[in-house]
């Protein structure tokens, strides 16, 4: 297939990806209020049974450390902090996007899901360490958990053109995987993911972070982008949900100094990320 034909099909495929649910958007908006109306929040979320089911499953994971089994949304809200509620709402939506294997990228469904959630856990730790404000923390949650959403659009074409990918990688051994994606498909998964988030009317800081997560120049142009890129890298160092492209990228020399993180911080983040993922995986 010619590159232009592939690109046309990719953008047709983008149109078939279900929109980020309005219910979740409304819930996140409500959670930005100073005085949160939890009854209203419950009513909003309850209107989407899929999100409710995922929310209750997630909230009972030991990774969220609640002292007892939770069987209702309202009870969950009483135990959780606002940030945790936001994280779980976003993860509840993400679960429905990352429910199938990505054959072209060589990731099974469980790996894809664990990769996204672990990236979210690590990104959260970095955001807390940097003392980000609530709006930025929310942006970090959305961008980190959904950073690879572009892969679900590209996977079919990646799979169809897999031989092209391998021969391009052989022919251009110095190229990063985003350059290979551009050569074969005419677009990369970061750009497609960013396009989706823009289409769903998320703030520019979120789509930029998704666009930038493999671009060494862009990822150090915003705090949210740097956090997402580093959290994704640490998730790959831990070997969680790695695709064939896992390490086929470059990270800039000043990524850690940009985020004011030391080598010691990195090991703490890796330890926390692995702990949370193992705790999460056990029950989910």
């Amino acid at each position: 297939m010619k590159e232009e034909q592939i690109l046309e099909k990719i953008f047709d495929k983008v149109e078939t990806i279900p929109t980020f649910p309005k219910v979740a958007q409304q819930a996140l908006e409500l959670l930005r209020d100073e005085n949160i109306d939890f009854k209203r929040l419950e009513k909003i979320i309850k209107s989407d049974p899929g999100i409710v089911a995922n929310f209750l499953k997630l909230v009972n994971s030991p990774a969220f450390g609640l002292p007892q089994k939770i069987d209702s949304l309202f009870k969950a809200f009483m135990f959780l902090g606002v940030n945790q509620i936001k994280f779980i709402i976003i993860a509840s939506v993400a679960k429905n996007y990352f429910d199938r294997p990505l054959k072209g990228y060589g990731i099974d469904a469980e790996g894809m899901w664990l990769h996204s959630i672990t990236c979210g856990f690590i990104a959260e730790e970095i955001a807390f360490k940097l003392g980000l404000n609530p709006a930025k923390i929310e942006a970090v949650y959305i961008a980190s958990i959904l950073h690879d959403i572009g892969k679900i659009v590209l996977d079919l074409y990646m799979d169809l053109e897999i031989e092209e990918f391998y021969s391009a990688m052989k022919e251009h051994p110095d190229w990063d995987f985003i350059q290979i994606e551009w050569l074969v498909l005419g677009v990369d998964h970061g750009l497609v993911g960013a396009y989706l988030l823009e289409k769903w009317h998320f703030p520019k800081s979120i789509s930029f972070a998704i666009r930038a997560h493999h671009d060494p120049d862009l990822m150090i142009q915003s705090e949210v982008a740097g956090i997402v890129a580093l959290a994704n890298a640490l998730t790959n160092y831990l070997g969680i949900g790695m695709g064939v492209d896992a390490f086929y990228y470059r990270l800039p020399e000043d990524l850690l100094s940009f985020l004011n993180l030391s080598e010691k911080d990195i090991y703490k983040l890796l330890k926390t990320g692995l702990y949370k993922m193992l705790t999460f995986q056990r029950e989910f």
Binding site: P62, G106, M242, G243, D254, L255, L256, Y267, L270, T279
Partner: protein, 160 residues
Amino acid sequence: MQLKVNKGYYQIVKNKAVELITEDLGAGIALGVIDEEKNSGGICVFVLPYKEHDIELDTGEVILSGESLIPIFFEELKNNNINVDKARYVIAGAGNFRAFPKGLNINNVNEKLIRGLIKKYLIPEENITYKTGYNTKIKLKVDLAKGKFKVIIGEKEEEL
């Protein structure tokens, strides 16, 4: 039968046609062993280097770092009568990005650690094969039915 060996753990098998397999290793390391004479072998896997990185889960399980795991693994190899200085070894993993900041050299720290630790056991260098430092995902298999190591690099399997 295939047995998965998770990060922070080891598995030793004697006289069984079992295939041991790791998860994706990331920057972590898998050390595989085959003693053909004794029809035995094993794998140990770690992703974080030092004792201070051991992780205790709320179930009481401990995910061991390389520094904690390697001595226990060798102790158990000896307890299982595996001939440590005659066995064959594969060290796989320690992946990293094509370029990375100095503070993100977890792969190098892990590889240096294992190279240092196994020196204590006086293993002849020719008995060790290194499959480290790739820019893609990697897994190690120890196939005790065939007495072979298999390294899966990206989507390709290599037999050793």
